[in-house]
């Protein structure tokens, strides 16, 4: 498909399934990034349409989350009573990213009447909102020390942290704007993180980088920032982890919790706040696919200094997918094999 400019009208028609000349989710992505007036209405229509395939409705929920507008939040809250669990999981997830206190009430109702993935997504979504707004309730569990993985004694490789160059910083902010999570990043506190071939960007919430602001970590829950993966495909950045904090049990401390976007707790640690300086350490939480790390450093006046930044050469094994024996030829939904030539 050659590159071409596609009108908002055509994008709407594709999203609504009226024009089949373009992949529907591509049109959703283009509509969500171009943000013409009333784009929310198109996505809301797909989301509300029970005759649509659940996956397409889920994609519409995702797209509303990417718009991040009050109208998008409203459309998601309205659909938080949908019965299809696959759709509801993505409605909850999107609300976690962009919702406010009204969304919290909707998510509480979702949690009450669901189980499994939907309930878990709703719980994590509520936690995200609560941390972002500094509200009581929806606390996250800090892992037991036994659940933190120590770095193996041999073979560790460095994790490189470097202040983002201007062009890369601008690129990350520009692409992260298409995945709003209700915070603004400090453009002077963007750090590129390299480990092996993986390139990520650490972006800090600017509400906590001004002089003295870091003390808030000991007083309230925060959505401190995000880590975003650089895509080889688009060159843009996409959030891979949320950085959350909760006031620690000890004075002038905070608990650091790093979650993957699916709600898996990936890393945890502690922060000690002394004046304008935060000294922190992070370890990996034991989970399938975890990468053992040792990350220790300080953050002061928007400046990050790493004293130790190491990762294991390999991840722990992930879960093994299910496997079936090769079905017989007589399975009704497989065509028979032709003779080989």
């Amino acid at each position: 498909m050659s590159e071409q400019i596609i009108s908002p009208e055509r994008l709407r028609a594709v999203v609504l399934g009226q024009d089949k000349t373009l992949r529907r989710v591509t049109a959703m992505a283009l509509l969500a990034t171009s943000r013409p007036p009333h784009a929310e209405d198109v996505f809301a229509q797909v989301l509300a349409n029970e005759k649509e395939h659940p996956r397409m409705r889920a994609a519409a929920a995702v797209s509303l989350g990417k718009l991040g507008t009050p109208a998008a939040e409203e459309a998601l809250i309205k659909q938080s009573r949908v019965s299809d669990q696959r759709v509801l999981a993505d409605v909850a997830k999107a609300l976690g990213r962009i919702g406010g206190e009204r969304a919290l009430a909707a998510l509480a109702q979702v949690r009450q009447r669901t189980t499994g993935l939907v309930a878990a997504q709703a719980q994590f979504a509520a936690a995200l909102i609560s941390h972002r707004l500094g509200l009581a309730g929806n606390e996250l569990a800090a892992p037991d020390g036994k659940n933190l993985i120590e770095l193996p004694p041999a073979g560790a490789r460095p994790v490189q942290f470097a202040k983002a160059e201007a062009g890369e910083a601008a690129l990350s902010l520009r692409t992260l704007a298409f995945e709003p999570i209700g915070i603004e990043y400090d453009q002077n506190a963007l750090y590129q993180v390299r480990c092996g071939r993986s390139v990520r960007m650490l972006a800090i919430n600017r509400a906590f980088t001004a002089a003295g602001a870091i003390n808030k970590l000991t007083a309230r829950k925060t959505l401190l920032g995000a880590v975003a993966l650089k895509s080889v495909e688009t060159d843009g950045y996409s959030i891979s982890h949320y950085l959350l904090t909760e006031p620690g049990r000890q004075p002038n401390t905070a608990t650091l919790l790093v979650y993957r976007t699916n709600g898996t707790q990936a890393f945890a640690g502690t922060a000690q706040v002394t004046g304008a300086r935060v000294s922190f350490s992070l370890r990996a939480v034991n989970h399938p696919g975890a990468t053992p790390v040792r990350l220790e450093g300080t953050f002061e006046n928007g400046q990050l200094n790493m004293q130790t930044a190491l990762a294991a050469p390999a991840r722990q094994p992930g879960r093994q997918p299910a496997r079936t024996a090769r079905p017989s030829r007589n399975r009704p939904n497989l065509t028979p094999n032709p003779p080989t030539s």
Binding site: M1, S2, R23, V25, T26, M28, A29, L30, R55, A58, A59, S63, G65, Q85, R86, A89, D90, K93, G116, L117, Q121, E179, G196, R197, S198, A228, L229, S231, V232, E233, T234, S238, S240, H241, R260, T261, N262, T264, P288, G289, R315, P317, G318, R319, Q320, P321, A322, R323, T324, R326, P327, R331, N333, L334, T335, P336, N337, P338, T340, S341
Partner: protein, 233 residues
């Protein structure tokens, strides 16, 4: 030429095996009748050709289909699309003297696992998927998902976790190209967006399939040097 049994053993197949099901690794062979169009799709399989291909350097694949039913199946069209994509990927890389050897076809993540991974909502979630699952063998994991929300239909988050490819039943050719393209990233290749006939040109800028599957000599060398490339059988 070595015997079929010897070649099968070389790529990790033991005991009794099916030619199409195990040696090729397909649910069904061509013609893949559920494709919208048969234009440029393979119409037959050649055992002799595949035997010759594994007698060159090659790599193995684990196909992990996400969002299946509890029997491990996607829709018939999606299953055919996967088989077709892998065969075309074989043809693409064979043009550079690199074969696709063992294809472990029947790994799956069922919908009932309630992971939400059947709808990948961002590159970050694709990264979650490749972190969450692993298979203890020497194959490259190719996660086939029914829907990848966004302007791209695939991602290679990081080595060695694998690649994520959307099954686009509206175009078996496009699914194939995305598979070959993402594997190219896995082997370390970057984009070549000023070369519309190149496999590593992004699809929005590339020539339509089947005219956008070329690799230049430097790219071929980089693929051949990748850790996952096995010696010839």
């Amino acid at each position: 030429m070595a015997s079929l049994r010897a070649l099968a053993h070389c790529i990790g197949l033991g005991g009794n095996f099916s030619v199409v099901g195990d040696f090729f690794g397909y649910a069904s062979g061509p013609p893949w009748t559920l494709a919208d169009s048969q234009n440029a799709l393979p119409q037959s399989l050649s055992l002799l050709t595949q035997m010759r291909r594994v007698q060159k350097r090659h790599f193995h694949l684990n196909l992990i289909r996400v969002g299946t039913d509890d029997n491990g199946l996607l829709s018939p069209a999606e299953e055919q699309c996967v088989d077709c994509a892998v065969q075309i990927t074989r043809d693409i890389y064979a043009a550079f003297g690199i074969g696709v050897g063992r294809v472990e076809r029947w790994w799956f993540v069922p919908l009932s696992d309630n992971t939400g991974f059947d709808v990948i909502d961002s590159d970050g979630e694709a990264d979650d998927l490749t972190e969450a699952y692993s298979i203890p063998n020497d194959g490259i994991n190719v996660f086939y998902v029914p829907l990848y929300v966004g302007s791209t239909a695939g991602l290679t988050p990081a080595k060695p976790d694998g690649v994520v490819v959307e099954i686009f039943t509206e175009s078996f050719l496009q699914t194939a190209r995305t598979t070959g393209h993402e594997l190219g990233h896995f082997f370390g290749l970057g984009h070549e967006n000023d070369k519309p006939a190149n496999l590593m040109c992004q699809s929005s800028k590339a020539l339509p399939m089947p005219d956008s599957t070329q690799l230049n000599s430097d790219q071929i060398d980089d693929v051949r040097d990748a850790d996952e490339i096995k010696a010839a059988c």
